[in-house]
């Protein structure tokens, strides 16, 4: 019996208990064969070795497993991998480029928005979805947006500061880009 996680293979399959799906993760297309009951979090973590997506509670409450699903934050621990067929997933590994951190990552570092780091990937992705929609949120809007992600270390205050700092950073970056656009 092969294990769930070795079934991730681009080879054609004749196994009736297996479904073939194509998922885009951080811009890369993956065609994989999975058992229908395989959870999306497990496909990402064990199947594709992107271990920045953590699993904390298994019940959609803690948000450590948050990924962006076509830009919307979802808890990947309670979604089946097969539901991601044809969709675009962004994980924490998709935030930074090889040389540069995303402004949200920079701000979490600068504002001491993390301690053990376990909730951090989910927090940052939820923050990204918020800032994509609302580039200038109030503190209350940030707190509300993050209320599906639990943190046990920080008391949230520095996480909220990090998100507000990231918003300011992204806005000023946007303004610079616009200015450069005008002058060129």
């Amino acid at each position: 019996m092969t294990s769930l996680f070795t079934k991730v293979s681009p080879e054609p399959t004749t196994d009736a208990g297996v479904r073939r799906i194509t998922v885009s993760i951080n811009g890369n297309q993956h065609t994989v064969d999975v058992e229908p009951r395989l959870l999306l979090a497990h496909l990402i973590r064990q199947g594709l070795d992107l271990t920045g997506t953590h699993t904390g509670c298994d019940t959609t409450h803690c948000g450590a497993c948050t990924v962006l699903f076509d830009g919307t934050p979802v808890k990947s621990c309670t979604m089946f991998a097969v539901q991601a067929e044809g969709h675009e997933i962004t994980t924490v590994e998709g935030l930074a480029t090889a040389s540069e951190l995303h402004p949200i990552q920079e701000s979490f570092k600068d504002e001491h928005g993390l301690q053990c780091g376990f909730c951090t990937p989910g927090m940052m992705l939820t923050a990204k979805a918020l800032l994509d929609e609302n580039p200038d949120p109030t503190e209350d809007e940030v707190r509300w947006a993050l209320s599906g992600n639990l943190c046990r270390c920080t008391g949230y205050q520095n996480i909220v500061k990090s998100v507000l700092a990231a918003a300011a950073r992204l806005r000023s970056q946007g303004a610079t880009d616009e200015e450069e656009g005008e002058t060129s």
Binding site: L38, T51, C57, D58, A64, H112, Q115, C153
Partner: protein, 793 residues
Amino acid sequence: MTIDEIKIGGLGASRSRVEDNRFVRGKGNYIDDISLPGMLHMEILRSPLAHARIKSIDASAAWAIPGVRLVLTGELMASRNLAWMPTLSYDTQAVLATDKVRFQGQEVACVVADDPYIAKDACEAIIVDYEPLAAIVNPTQAMADGAPIIRDDKENQHDNVIFDWEIGDKDGTDRAFADADVVSELELHYPRSHPSPIETCGSIADFDRSTSKLTLYMTSQAPHIIRAAVAMVAELPEHMIRVVSPDLGGGFGNKVPIYPGYVVSILASILLERPVKWIEDKTGNLISTGFGRDIYLRGQLALRKDGKILGVRMHADSDHGAFFSDAQPSKFKIGLLHSAFACYDIPAAHLTARGVYTNKAPGGVAYRCSFRVTEAMFFQERMVQAAADDLGIDQAEIRRLNFVRDDDFPHRTPFGFLTDSGQYRKCLDIGLEAIGYEDFLKEKQEAKKNGRLLGIGISTMTEPLGAGNSREYDILGIKMFDSAELRVHMTGKAILRTGAKSQGQGHETTWAQIVAHELGIPAEDIVVEEGDTDTAPFGMGTYASRSTPVAGAAVSMVSRKIRAKARKIAAHLLEVSEEDIDWELGRFFVRSSPDTGVTIQECAMAAYSNVPDGMEPGLENNAYYDPPNLTWPFGCYITTVEVDPETGVWDVLKVVAVDDCGVRINPMIVEGQIMGGLAEAYAISSMQMITFDEQGNCVGSNYMDYLLPTAWETPGFELHEVVTPCPHHPIGAKGVGECATVGGPAAFVNAVLDALKDTGVRNIDMPLLPDRVYEALTEHHDVSGAPPLRTGS
């Protein structure tokens, strides 16, 4: 040229954290991120009942599932003498149940399979036939006549009592009460709470038959204690055990004990000769691993009319669950509960405590606190508040009147600890100023006219952090020192290893800052490693806020040993005698000619290339530090709240924290620790509770039922500081990680009770859920006790 210590990331620099570089990229290495070739997966079958005899276990259907490699039951464990293991409090705990199950969630069987899905399927296929027994869910039931004996596995156990313990001066206390003008009384329950780090527990056992070596990757705050314990339990030689604790997704005391899952994964790997991974699910974590608190406290204060406290009596009934497995110093049966009232000058005190078994999960871990200190300080501050109310004295004034004075150190506390420093009144004054005390009292009176209920709560305390000193503190006989090893390389870069283990506290950042302070080597030139028993020096790990007081001190001491050797090398390089050179940060120089000198980096190079005759080459050393005393940080927490009289819902208006944790190594990280502690204080006082029904079913087995505050509920915090250096710590630092969790809850509870003062209600037990507050508010009576025992009085 003088080095700017802040610029090199030394003491006092809010240096950004080294570990964040991997964490923000999702490149942390937590237990579940580790995958070994050929690795199998283990799942645990847990008891659905709190108390039941096991009549039979039929695992044949589980064995028949393709992909199942091993099914382990208590019987099989017993055949290897592994069905029971010792606890950290000299009791025994079942690894897999043989005779009875004693709490809901107890480990009954384990399945090892090719993947965790198969292992879970197979667990469900195991048929266990139970004969249910009456469950005991609180100390009253445990001590009742004719109560079923939970630990009938122990030969000499004829009731459910684990210990009766006392400390203090009974006669002196009786005399103090005879002299008292007024006696204030209070009785309360500090509810069971779970530390609940977001990451659960887990392990990967990898036994290599060809070398006979066991490598155990696991979520441990104290990997060296685990190595020693595994050597004893599994009868493997200690040098053939390597424990690796990778990045931990939080700990808070939950990852100190040894859990059955770890032990079974070891045996499974030995039997199968493959790596075996066990990752606990959240429910397993919440219902079976170390809880905190669950203690019934009652006490009295003997008072003079003016508010001066003359004596204290305390009694504790503590509920330890089915196995006494508290992780605490062996000399003290109820942890450091007797640290209560340490900040007050009280002549006489007496404490009695009784611990009992119940059909609940074992643990009694120090959940973000130093061994029952949280319970001690909560009771102290609730008691002082009740006394102020009874006497009609201002709540700030009664504290000021009883504080140990700044010039009265060292001071012997009522139960015999020795505190060494503090500026208690100054902290309180800063807190009162920050909250706007006088104005708030006026505002409160005004608001009352409009039917609004405002309240203000104060909590002040000093607590013993940093066990230990080895005279008094040991776990399983191992003295509570800690260690550091420093290797300075040829080019002046260095690697530091300690016996502590960070779970988010940022040791990789702060330990380097201590070395930078002592040696002038830039912090960025020092790499810090912890958690691997094959490479790290022996230490007792990180809990009870002991890292900075003990391991942090060892980092200073090893750096000083390095500096002493470098000094001899410098004398050789400068061609003067050692007595003729002086040290400034990062450099030795000739006293009579300050421009002539050598840097620490030049000394490092010479240690490998140009040592004086007769000197051993190299620049490496280690230090084992046994602190002369605990450290005594002080915290003052003040909160204001508004209670909605229509619903019992209370909102936090403002939270002020004044912390004196001595010299701050990295102020940014210290503030992060305090804010995290305050959030947990709010959580415990407002919503967080693991409770049980009468059958012993755990009613807090997932995050739907066990409420943790989110960013939305959690209030903002305003932080202030006072710095009284610790007189015995090499850099004057004290512990801090737990202060706010210890001192904070009483500030919230006192504030809500202050808002309800006109009702005459003296106590509402935590958590102050709206229904409890509403009941007290409308029915004008105390609301005490944990369900199902909860009673109005």
